[in-house]
Assembly symmetry: C2
Homo-oligomer: 219 residues x 2
């Protein structure tokens, strides 16, 4: 994405650090340069749900420009390098550069498509299918930013965090991971995910990459 020319500051975060607080009113939008982050919502019971996972290159809270107050927080899943762009500059873009504005808008719209896929996974897929679906999604998203190849990528998160993505308990994530490994479709040791049969995994998860909008078409 072409962001040269926009002023920004960058900052580093440790794994687990809060990048943007839930309920805050940020004056900047942030962009992940390196690492993994997640959007999180909390319930009074202490339970937590991730509503999105972000990888290098993602403009994480562009929507904060329009929403004013954050309905969710953003946390670092791994060590992260993050760039911040002031809202004032983004607003100027929306007033002077229709094409770039459309790219920004598209970015939030693709986020929405991913969220819809998550909704369908949560509502109608089994836990193990959901897990497989997440792996397929991450692989394709990481591949286009050169963080994955030959079926392999790094994903340094705990099983409890995967649970927060899938809406499962850490115990059940562990069970589903073992079951999925037993199919021979993937291996997952430490933070390294190795997909041995992407076709098979896609079929198993009923994964259709259409929604990720990876094809190149004029906008």
């Amino acid at each position: 994405m072409i962001l040269e020319g926009l002023p920004r500051r960058t900052k580093e975060y440790r794994a687990g650090a809060e990048i943007i607080a839930e309920g805050s009113r940020p004056q900047e939008s942030c962009l992940i340069l390196e690492g993994f982050a997640a959007r999180a919502q909390h319930l009074s019971s202490g339970k937590r749900q991730f509503t999105a996972v972000h990888v290098a290159g993602d403009f994480v809270d562009l929507h904060g420009l329009l929403l004013k107050q954050m309905d969710h927080g953003v946390i670092a899943l791994s060590p992260c390098r993050v760039a911040f762009v002031p809202h004032a500059n983004l607003k100027t873009v929306t007033e002077t550069n229709p094409h770039l504005t459309r790219m920004f808008w598209l970015s939030t719209v693709v986020d929405g498509a991913i969220q819809r896929a998550w909704i369908t996974c949560l509502g109608r897929r089994s836990a193990i299918q959901h897990l497989a679906h997440l792996i397929c999604e991450l692989y394709l998203r990481l591949e286009i930013v050169d963080r994955a190849e030959n079926g392999k990528f790094e994903f340094p998160v705990t099983q409890a965090e995967i649970g927060d993505m899938l809406g499962l308990s850490n115990v059940h994530v562990n069970r589903m991971l073992q079951e999925l490994r037993a199919t021979g479709l993937i291996r997952w040791r430490g933070s390294t995910v190795q997909i041995d049969d992407f076709e098979g995994l896609s079929t198993f998860a009923e994964f259709d990459p259409l929604y990720l909008n990876l094809s190149r078409e004029p906008r």
Copy 2:
């Protein structure tokens, strides 16, 4: 929303009719003038999940302008009157009217916030809390378009369709509805929903209206 001046055609749909097909490449975006619609995704098992519910005044598939191919279908839940605006005209807006463009963008961004709330409901709330949350959301959204007042609104959908919103079976929706009625917080007869204690219902559902972005602030 100010849409005067944009060309459009309007069309009527019966309950259950498909307004936009999953996988299609529409050349227009649609706007619900009257009635209820839902975005739906289908699995091979025949299961269906709604990823959003739309009410009068909602610009349902504005994102279709940017996504080109639909990752979901749009169906009428009740009889609907729908307006269609050609993408060509919307594209012109994005090139000539920054303020209106920002309003369009905001509309898709609020959709995204609602989807995040759905994700958290699906992942971490109990079925009955989720149901209560949906009722709170619908009430506030309908109130601002004058389709709800004094805790009462019309919602002409079947229990199976509610199941497709909540990711539940029709049988379990029935059980949860009875349980929720038994609390005295709501009544629901036929297609009429009566909230007798919105405060209580909000608390029960842990509903926070922040995400609906109802407050009026300059954009």
